[in-house]
Each structure stands twice: as C-alpha cells, then as structure tokens.
C-alpha cells in the first residue's frame, strides 16, 4: 500500500467539496484540486487577488499576464465570473463568505491549530505569508491537504505545533495521503482510510491520539472515497 499521490489526493478533496460552494484553493498542492472538480458540481473558485469564478488554465499561447491566480499562474475566467479589488477579495475571506478553504500545511494540531506559512527558516529565504492567515481565520471551513508525514517521516499531525502558527483552532478536516481526519471537540477522528491501511499504522504515523469514527470510509488508490457520502 503506497500513500496517495498528489493527484489522487487532489481528486479525493475535489469529490468532497459541497455542491455550489464557494471555495478558495491555497497556493501549492491545493491548486491542483481545480483540475478534478466536476464541471456540474457548481463549485465557484475564489482567488484572493480579485477573481470569483476562476476557470481552468488557458491554452498555450492564450495566457493573459493580468489574469493569474494567487500562485501567479495563468488562469481563465469562467462564465459569470467577476473581478474586484483586493480589499473586497479579503472582505470575502475575513468576513466568512468562503465556504471552504483548502490549504496546504506543515503541521496541524489536535485542536486544529495550523502551521502553514513560510518562515524561511529552513531555506534561508525571506519569510512570506501572503493571504494564508486571512484565509485560515475567515473561511467557514478550513480543510488541510498534505502528506501524512514529512519527508523525514516525522508526523505532521501533532499534539502541539512546533512551527510558528498561522492560526489557532481553525482546521476542521485534514486530507492526508493516508486518511481523512476530522478535528472535533473530542479530538481527532479518522473518518476514512486508504484502502489497505490499518488504523495502527495511521496512528503510528501521527503525533496525536486518533479515534476511529463509527463508520469509516475507504479511499481507493486513485482517490475515490467509498462508504461515505
């Protein structure tokens, strides 16, 4: 059993976005989710640089330097899209108008604390925070999408974050390469696991106590969730 790859994980998250919801996909891995959102799902993508109803990447040669996403890659505008300035873009985010923000993360704590901004401490570069904190504080639901463990095998789901926090107590659901984990009042709850994964294995790769949900879904290798809606 191999952990889910990025594509499969993106497909998994995409399948769970509520119909007709307003969604912000964080820069980095979450951006890829857009490729897997079903066209008939009605999901409307927001970008903090002033776009609502972002469409897919343009065809080669049709890029417009004034039409880019928050990761600064060329995008298009979908039918019924709108442009606005950053102050309205962040009012949408801070004001609770985004239904779901899917963010990458370095660490998530058992209380839903989030550490995902780039402090630059590991690469000697300057720090950069962008809109990460605004999204983490303001969206109605914060989902995290990340590998279950760091490259050195260290858990990324931990009792207490050791990296500088982005926000406290905000993450409601974590999609990892091994499982879907809900952050609840009673602690972390595994609501789905990768096909073939054992709970003990998932727990061993996690730095905080987990419990199994009453009904646990199964995630196939291609990122399809079976046994939960």
């Amino acid at each position: 059993m191999n952990p889910l790859n990025r594509q499969a994980l993106a497909r998994l998250v995409a399948s769970q976005l509520p119909r007709d919801s307003f969604v912000n996909l964080g820069i980095g891995a979450p951006t890829q989710i857009a490729d897997f959102v079903a066209p008939d799902a009605g999901v409307i993508l927001h970008s903090e640089n002033g776009i609502l109803n972002m469409g897919p990447a343009p065809r080669a040669g049709e890029e417009d330097p004034d039409l880019i996403n928050a990761g600064k890659s060329p995008v298009t505008l979908a039918l019924g899209g709108a442009f606005f300035d950053s102050s309205l873009a962040f009012a949408m985010m801070r004001g609770g108008h985004i239904d779901v923000a899917v963010l990458g993360a370095f660490q998530v704590s058992r209380r839903g604390d989030l550490a995902n901004w780039t402090t630059g401490k590991d690469d000697g570069e300057p720090p950069g925070v962008g809109g990460a904190i605004d999204l983490a504080v303001g969206a109605k639901a914060i989902w995290v999408m990340m590998d279950h463990v760091a490259r050195d095998g260290a858990p990324r789901i931990v009792s207490d974050c050791t990296l500088p926090l982005t926000a406290t107590n905000v993450v409601s659901r974590v999609f990892t390469s091994l499982a879907i984990i809900e952050v609840t009042e009673g602690g972390l709850l595994v609501s789905a696991m990768l096909e073939g994964a054992e709970f003990d294995h998932v727990q061993a790769a996690t730095g905080a106590p987990l419990r199994l949900a009453e009904r646990v879904g199964m995630i196939t290798a291609d990122g399809t969730l079976i046994g939960r809606s």
Binding site: D40, H46, L77, G80, A82, F83, A91, G95, I98
Partner: protein, 220 residues
Amino acid sequence: MRNVVVGTEAAAVAGLRDGHVVMVGGFGGAGLPRSIIKAVAELGVRDLTVISNNAGAGGDDLSLWFRQRMVRKIICSYPRSAKDFTLQYRAGTVELELLPQGTLVERIRAGGAGLGGFLSPVGVGTVFERGKEKITVGGRDFLLELPLRADFALVKGRTADTLGNVTYNKAARNHCAVMATAADIVTVEVDRIVEAGGLDPESIVTPCIFVDRVFARAVA
C-alpha cells in the same frame, strides 16, 4: 450550476421572522427595494431591528412597516420627513439609534468584512461619542465603532445574473453594496435577470458570493 433566482416576492423574503435584524438599502428613493419591502409588510412580522439610512417618506417604503408597528428599533442617520416613524417615535414605541451616515456605512462594511470594529474620528467631542470607547492613537482621539450585521439585507440592484452577480443603477448603488456583504440572507430586487455571462466581469459591483436570492420585480 448555482441559480439564486426566486420567482415571487414571498420567496424573496421567506424565513424573515419576528425579532430579526434587517438591513434595507437605499438613500431616499434611490436603491429602495420597494417590492420586497412590501412583501415583508405582508408577512406581518414584529419586533424588527431595521438598519437603513432613512425611515420612510410616507410612500411604499419603510413607512409600511412603521404603520403596521413592525419595528422595535431603527439604526439610521436621517429619519426626518418620515411621518409614520415620527408618530411612533413621539409615542415612544420605537427606539432610534442615530448614527453619522459614514459611521453607519462603515460599521456595516466592518460587519461584512469580518473586522472587529474600527477607529473613527467622526463624532469625537459631540454627543455621538456617548457610550463609545475612546482610543487615542498618535495623539489623536478616535471612537471605537463596532460592526453591524443583519439576518436579512434587502437591496435594490439593476441587473443580476442567475448566479447572483449584481450591478446597480447610478446613485442607487449607495448603501446597497455594503449591506449586501453583511447579512446572513441577502435578497436583491432587480429590474432584470440575465444568464450567467451576461454581465461584464469588470462592472459587477456585488459578486455572487454575497447574494442568496435575486428577484426581478415586474417593471411597468
């Protein structure tokens, strides 16, 4: 695909209940959502807290609500020339919170933008500072103004698309645009509804993320 068009006035205001806080757009008659104001009057709800610039001018406007004694309190900037409101104000049966207009608008914006409040220079040294915390920054006094939010916002647009993107007409934009950001249910009365893609993306004033319902009134 998302479609927020509702076909009747009743559907536009469904769920509006006794005790709700309701924002109503408009400055004078411009931007006043008359059809859905009337629909709320027909609901006959009570104890509303209304947030609006004015308090009706005796026509098919907020006067309808005051005449039916539906309003417990109004937060506004200029409730003059408002006969029906005035009668109840004199009788002491309606509460008035009078705000400088810019403070009213900015408190609504803060509510919509997720801010905990803002520091305003407006009202310092006047009766409008009563009950408000004073905060000094850089040697200058400001009043701490808190955000306003509502259960419903009723506003008047010009054209909406089926997704809920909205444009306004001329000076009818006024308070409507901020109110549309600051309520749990935002209902927009418009003159015309077009398909998604029928509005210029550069000219949309209220993007659909803020809008829950659009209703096209019958245009004479």
